[in-house]
């Protein structure tokens, strides 16, 4: 479970986030929708402890971001955009084992967990090949497996569908469904309204660092048509820029 409490963040003279607060329950997928520069990546970097908020805090499974950053990191798995960030000179297996060990697992546990993930994500045939030789889809699979190698209960995806072809995108969305089934809390950011609508239980619209609106999707779908939802989201995402 994630509790985001009144986060403020400034970069020099630019206000990146202003009083951002929302919760993500266990088993819930929250889609973070916003334009480029809206503050989505900054928020995810704050939750993952890479950036410190100027004000406010985040609780991840009751661990405080400011006071217990390492415990927070142990409870989250993160995947940044289409840059999967694999070590290309290591094999898929070595990439997974490396991250397992960095997250505190011993040798035997990391080996067992790696084998489990290789079977789960079905990349046994290329598990011992260098990651530099993989296609984008293969890399995406390994990167997803790496992000959950320590079995975190919270998953953060920063634009996981960006720049992916159909096959690689399907891997990502299959994984989102897997997260839901396994009761993980997920925040994923995207530019794509269609993907956000399809996979999110709740959509949080962010514009110029401010949360504009939060929609519970199954309630929205009861009240509005698909086109009405699209129009509504478009107006919120573009904010006052639409009038420019």
């Amino acid at each position: 479970m994630i509790k985001i409490l009144n986060i403020y963040k400034n970069f020099k003279k630019c206000q990146a986030l202003k009083d951002v607060s929302f919760d993500v329950n266990n088993g819930e997928i929250v889609g973070l929708l916003g334009e480029n520069g809206a503050g989505k990546s900054t928020l995810l970097r704050i939750i993952s402890t890479m950036l410190k908020p100027d004000q406010g805090t985040v609780l991840v499974n009751d661990y405080d971001l400011i006071a217990q950053p390492r415990d927070v990191r142990k409870n989250i798995g993160i995947l940044f955009g289409s840059e999967v960030g694999l070590y290309e000179r290591l094999t898929a297996r070595e990439n997974l084992e490396y991250f397992a060990k960095l997250n505190g697992m011993d040798n035997e546990k990391s080996k067992n967990r790696t084998n489990e993930l290789i079977n789960q994500f079905e990349f046994k045939n290329y598990a011992d090949k260098p990651a530099g030789t993989f296609s984008k889809g293969m890399k995406q699979k390994v990167a997803i497996a790496r992000s959950i190698v320590h079995d975190p209960s919270v998953i953060l995806f920063d634009e996981p569908d960006s720049g992916l072809d159909f096959k690689a995108a399907k891997i990502v969305f299959d994984f989102l469904e897997f997260c839901k089934k396994t009761n993980k809390s997920v925040i994923f950011s995207s530019h794509s309204m269609d993907n956000i609508k399809t996979f999110s239980d709740r959509i949080v619209v962010i514009h110029k660092g401010v949360i504009m609106e939060s929609f519970i999707m199954h309630e929205c779908r009861k009240k509005y048509t698909d086109k009405e939802i699209n129009d509504m989201l478009f107006n919120l995402v573009c904010g006052d820029d639409e009038n420019d």
Partner: protein, 386 residues
């Protein structure tokens, strides 16, 4: 933290070993470059030396005298008719009194000066040969004065060929001073620096560029553990490059037939290894700090290229410094102290007190550089350059 440090170190070493470019430029090249460079220098020196021993062109200010006759009789001296003492056709120009023979016969002092061209290597290399014949001429004249008083007889007396062999009579140009006073310290510094620079860039700025740094920082690992692991891997690469340079040098000494033989005692070898290790660690910390600060591999290269050139300046600065006269002040200045101690080691003048001082300062520099790197690695404004 130690466990994570070891995990990072093992992974980084694995990546370094698997990278062909790092292997070639960090290990193979320093191993081959030093002997190849020294062999080329050796070859060109010997070739010039042999040429100059076979024939030296000289100019003489006046003809029809006993010195002219003496020089004409020598197989390896050719007299060129030039008026300009700085002419490129000649290696040396002899100025002598026009009436030198009369002065000799009259028992007076005479002038005989040899001028060389400082800007010509051939001219410099001809010094021992011309000086040798000048000395012989003066001995013959002294001998003649004590025995005869006739000018005709003088010319016949000096017109003798003086045989010589290169090895016995013309001294070899000794290149060992150039090697061990400048080239070896310079090469060691250079390879400890650039050997760790490319690795440091790859492990810091390279990770930023490839997008792996964010994934790494989002793990449960402590950042200090991560940076120590990276520092040790970078040090290992720099030290390996430094060691390969020394091994290359040893290889050269084994195959060369010149005079530059060197013997290191166990203490000197241990001192050399310790100095290489700490020098590599010093450069690794500095290079890593630059890498952590840089946005990309290219930016880091831009900062580190002038730094590696700056490191070479002390090697030139201390070229003429005698290994036996190194003062304590030199041992406290970064980089300069490393060069001084390497000179002492290769001059078989190692002083354990001096080695300890240099190691102490190196540890201090490493700790300072590591403190800065570690703090930079924890600052979001540096890691993400926001």
């Amino acid at each position: 933290m130690i466990k994570q440090m070891v995990v990072v170190l093992v992974k980084e070493l694995k990546c370094i070993i698997r990278d062909k470019k790092t292997f070639i430029f960090g290990i193979v090249l320093p191993f081959l470059w030093v002997p190849v460079m020294l062999l080329i220098i050796d070859f060109s020196m010997k070739s010039s030396q042999s040429q100059i021993s076979d024939n030296v062109n000289i100019g003489i200010s006046s003809k029809d005298n006993s010195f002219y006759t003496f020089c004409s009789a020598q197989k390896n001296i050719t007299i060129i008719d030039v008026n300009d003492p700085k002419s490129s056709k000649i290696a040396a120009y002899v100025t002598l009194d026009a009436d030198i023979d009369s002065k000799i016969l009259g028992g007076e002092d005479f002038n005989l000066n040899v001028d060389y061209n400082d800007s010509s290597i051939n001219s410099m290399m001809s010094i021992p040969i011309v000086s040798y014949y000048e000395g012989i001429y003066r001995s013959i004249i002294n001998d003649y004065r004590s025995r005869f008083k006739n000018k005709e007889g003088l010319n016949k007396f000096v017109a003798i060929e003086i045989p010589y062999t290169l090895d016995e009579q013309v001294p070899n140009i000794n290149t060992s001073s150039l090697y061990f006073n400048m080239l070896v310290p310079m090469m060691l510094i250079l390879y400890c620096c650039i050997g760790s620079a490319s690795t440091a860039n790859d492990l810091s700025a390279g990770e930023k560029e490839r997008g792996t740094l964010e994934s790494l920082l989002s793990t449960g690992a402590d950042r200090t553990g991560i940076i120590i692991g990276k520092l040790l891997a970078t040090t290992a690469m720099g030290a390996t490059s430094g060691l390969c340079t020394v091994l290359g040098l040893c290889g050269y000494l084994l195959i060369s037939s010149g005079s530059q033989k060197i013997h290191l005692s166990v203490l000197e070898m241990v001192s050399l290894l310790v100095i290489i290790l700490f020098t590599s660690m010093f450069f690794a910390s500095v290079n890593l700090a630059v890498g952590v600060y840089s946005r990309s591999y290219k930016e880091a290269q831009t900062y580190l290229t002038p730094m590696s050139i700056i490191c070479l300046i002390p090697a030139y600065f201390t070229y003429t410094l005698d290994a036996s006269g190194i003062g304590i002040g030199y041992l406290c200045v970064p980089v300069l102290n490393i060069i001084c101690i390497i000179k002492e080691i290769f001059a078989n003048a190692v002083n354990i007190y001096h080695v300890s001082i240099v190691v102490f300062w190196l540890i201090l520099y490493v700790l300072s550089a590591f403190y800065i790197t570690n703090n930079m690695f924890k600052k979001e404004s540096v890691v993400f350059r926001i």
